[in-house]
């Protein structure tokens, strides 16, 4: 399986993401610059964290109009897995691939620490390797992770089981402790915590690795013909 890590000016978790895929997961991965005009050759798209375009105007607001985002939308429509972490999640929200928006953290502080997440849905291509209700430890690092959506959207998210991760202890004021959501089709996931920073016990947790393993497993089941 071949992954693309999209790099915007101001991305800073791209190298962690690349390392997670190449060295810990053992799959193919390439950096892809934000002005790239085709993602045809990639099987999975990763939008890393950071401060794309300096977070000017709103987090993700400017990155969402970069050339490559047209291709990310196309990949999403084609059913390819698209994962947005932290700033990547914010870009997915701004682009409308996921519903809702981010507000400043309730405390106004930048929060950088490991948090416990609850797996609310393990029937997705991103979470198949987790147990339902399992608690996993993944670090967060953000100033704007206070998820918000209106009542109707929240009802839809719940009805379709689109809330994939919640915080055990809410660090940022996020609505209903939401840490990560998926689109209705089930192939676009956005989350504030950083699974790519939890891929080896040396980093304090390897709980994030299962997310990437889930993606690969689902992809192999669909694409690799058994001999």
């Amino acid at each position: 399986m071949k992954f693309a890590v999209i790099v915007f000016p101001g991305s800073n978790c791209d190298i962690d993401m690349y390392h997670a895929i190449k060295d810990e997961l053992g799959e193919e991965v390439e950096y892809v610059w934000h002005d790239t005009e085709s993602l045809e050759e990639y099987d999975g798209i990763l939008l890393p964290g950071g401060f794309s375009y300096g977070d000017y105007l709103r987090s993700g607001a400017i990155a969402r109009f970069s050339r490559v985002m047209q291709e990310v939308v196309k990949a999403a429509n084609d059913g390819k897995p698209v994962l947005g972490v932290c700033n990547g999640f914010q870009i997915l929200l701004e682009s409308g691939l996921l519903p809702g928006a981010m507000r400043r953290n309730e405390s106004l502080s930048f929060i950088c620490k490991p948090v416990q997440l609850k797996v609310e849905n393990n029937q997705t291509m991103f979470t198949g390797e987790y147990e339902l209700g399992q608690t996993i430890t993944i670090p967060v690092a953000h100033g704007e992770g206070n998820y918000y959506c209106d009542k109707d959207t929240l009802a839809r998210l719940k009805a379709n089981n689109q809330i994939v991760f919640t915080y055990e202890q809410n660090p940022n004021g996020s609505l209903e402790n939401i840490a990560g959501i998926i689109n209705e089709k089930g192939n676009v996931l956005g989350m504030m915590p950083h699974p790519e920073r939890a891929v080896d016990e040396l980093l304090g947790s390897a709980d994030g690795l299962k997310m990437f393993q889930s993606i690969v497993k689902t992809w192999r089941e669909a694409h690799v013909v058994k001999a």
Binding site: L57, R58, A61, I62, F65, L93, E94, P99, G100, A101, R103, R104, N105, E106, S107, L108, N146, Y148, C149, D150, G173
Partner: protein, 84 residues
């Protein structure tokens, strides 16, 4: 040429953590009469005249990029000016 002033504010239903912190700070500065502070953004755009209606252009710009309709409202003022 137009000078356009755009004001972007959080929707009323959306909690404003910055505004809340400033309200608390004003209370500690002994202004108990300050009931609420909402923080927004102010932008000035200079737009050249074109075939298109200026309101149409500004509304498009605001809803596409300058404001996020999920959490923000916008309003604007247009002033026609002579190019310098």
């Amino acid at each position: 040429m137009y000078k356009v002033k755009v004001f972007v504010t959080l929707r009323e239903s959306v909690l404003d953590p910055q505004g809340k912190a400033v309200t608390n700070s004003l209370h500690s500065l002994n202004y108990p009469e300050v009931a609420d502070v909402r923080i927004g953004k102010y932008m000035e755009l200079t737009i050249e005249k074109s075939d298109r209606d200026i309101d149409e252009v500004v509304n498009e710009i605001c809803s596409k990029l300058l404001a996020n309709p999920v959490i923000e409202n916008y309003r604007y003022e247009v002033e026609e000016v002579v190019a310098q």
